[in-house]
């Protein structure tokens, strides 16, 4: 019985994103706003991987009495995602019947998604489209918040645009939101953040179900796909310092018995040029070539 009553009373907002986007700022604004309206707020977060694009999430729960600071899976009233793949990753936390899904469609591809890929192929990334998500949630908003913010003059205000969308899903007055935002953003960016917040609220009014695909499907570059990376090694110049062998991310190179570098696995080369650039003796040259039959 206890949990049921609590659920009726408590609103749970899950904010997710990638380090540096402003997940914590969004949750601080929300938590402060709730406190000022006399509600009890519990917030818990995981951050710290923030600097290099790591995943960041923040649970914000508010109501008359909040017991647990953590949102159980499937019970979030709002899922606010500052990055598309993060939104998809946390989708199971959203209440499937009454939850509101809000997400930026911009992608931030993590560095490790670039590994082990074929030539000319775009990095792996979630292929789920906003239309797919719309079938799984009761209310869903997917927008290019970063683009909206960039148009206003600073793409870093994307989180405030999304805050504007969030404000329409909750019942606090517009001015109260603006007052709190003003306190949390750096003084120089107050104006742009207010504008971004209002732009978010405006966007919801005109939101429609998209006609086509919002997310572009990654295309394979027909030219780059066929490029052959040929490593030319000038043996007389090589002094066997081992830098290229140790730095090659694909481990294509090796030193032979004479202490000279040789190509061990030519097919693994992705053409990153690290060996060429870091060779102190200029003994490695990379040629990106197109076979004659493909060139025609």
């Amino acid at each position: 019985m206890g949990s049921d009553t609590e659920r009726d009373d408590v609103t749970s907002v899950l904010i997710v994103g990638v380090g540096g986007q402003g997940v914590i700022m969004v949750s601080k604004v929300l938590a402060t706003l709730c406190q000022e309206h006399g509600l009890e707020v519990k917030q818990s977060e995981v951050h710290g991987m923030a600097k290099r694009g790591g995943a960041v999430f923040s649970h914000v729960r508010f109501g008359r009495h909040v017991h647990s600071p953590v949102i159980p899976a499937g019970e979030a009233d709002v899922l606010l995602a500052l990055e598309w793949a993060e939104g998809l990753r946390w989708l199971h936390f959203l209440d499937p019947e009454n939850g509101t899904f809000i997400s930026d469609v911009r992608k931030i591809v993590p560095p490790f998604a670039c590994r082990d890929r074929g030539r000319g192929v775009a990095p792996q990334y979630a292929k789920t489209t906003p239309r797919d998500v719309l079938e799984k949630v009761s209310v869903g908003y997917a927008l290019d918040a970063t683009g909206i913010a960039a148009k206003l003059g600073n793409d870093r205000a994307a989180n405030t645009v999304l805050l504007g969308i969030l404000s329409t899903a909750l019942s606090f007055p517009e001015q109260a939101w603006l007052d709190v935002i003003e306190r949390f953003v750096p003084p120089k960016t107050r104006e742009i953040n207010s504008a971004a917040f209002l732009a978010g609220r405006e966007w919801v009014k005109e939101a429609t179900v998209p006609e086509g695909e919002v997310l572009p499907v990654p295309e394979v570059d027909t030219v780059l796909k066929n490029v052959v990376n040929r490593l030319e090694i000038t043996e007389e110049w090589c002094k066997g310092c081992d830098i290229c062998v140790k730095f090659c991310p694909e481990r294509c190179l090796a030193l032979n018995d004479a202490g000279k570098v040789v190509v061990k696995d030519a097919n693994a080369c992705t053409g990153c040029r690290l060996c060429e650039m870091l060779c102190p003796d200029f003994a490695i040259r990379l040629h990106k070539e197109l076979p004659a039959e493909v060139a025609q």
Binding site: V223, L278, D281, F282
Partner: protein, 284 residues
Amino acid sequence: MNEIRVTSADKFDIRDWLRTELMPHFMCPGCGHGIALRALLWACHELGIDKDKLAIVSGIGCSGRTGAYIDANTFHTTHGRPLAFATGLKLARPDLTVIVITGDGDSLAIGGNHLIHACRRNLDITCMMLNNEVYGMTGGQVSPTTSAQRYTTTTPAGNMEPVFDACRLAEGAGASFVGREATLQIPTLKDLLKEAIAHEGFSFVEVISDCTEIFGRKNALGSSPEMVLKQKKVMIPERSDNRIAQPFRPNPFPTGVFVRQERPEYGAAYRQMCERVQKGGKGR
């Protein structure tokens, strides 16, 4: 097979810029000076500098020898004096792009005097200082930038002298462009050198290089790939015991552009004065 050249790295072929008949160069295996040389030539390539209009002046030391491999106008001068030669060269031939390649010993110890006055005058030359913490060519003696407690042939019990921060010196002496980068980050180094060359006025770039054979081996700093990878960590600018008091400074050697300011360029001012004097004025 058709070669594809799309990016700047594809288009740049270092052999167009080298005196290939002199190769392989004399530097030891794993010496960072080669990487720095590539960054410099890459920057020149991207700026579209004509080889005939490029003058490289270098001093003595491992750094001094790197200049000799460039297929441009190169001038191998006396120890510590490349900046003095370059000053004369730039004043006589303002149409040339003058780049000085110097080392930590060459520019901070023997040529320290010339460095501060070149910074002060603000003549439009670029000074690339290759900092490998040691006098490599002369046998591994201690240099003004040798990190705290490091062993060299002249500090058999470890270096006890405080260390020179070349960038702060150049800044204090009045250089209008000061930057620092490690050879590990060669594309960034190339961009920094590009900015330095394009900057009108005296620009000073410190390149963190590595000396594996003479310095690294004596101090057990590992093989050349390890030294390149750890470049910014192994350099200790102050006395190493200072670091305990600074736990939140994991990178003691910051990189990037430190100074970029507009100051009257010496060459232009000098030519104006000459004109006035030639007309019979007093020069003021």
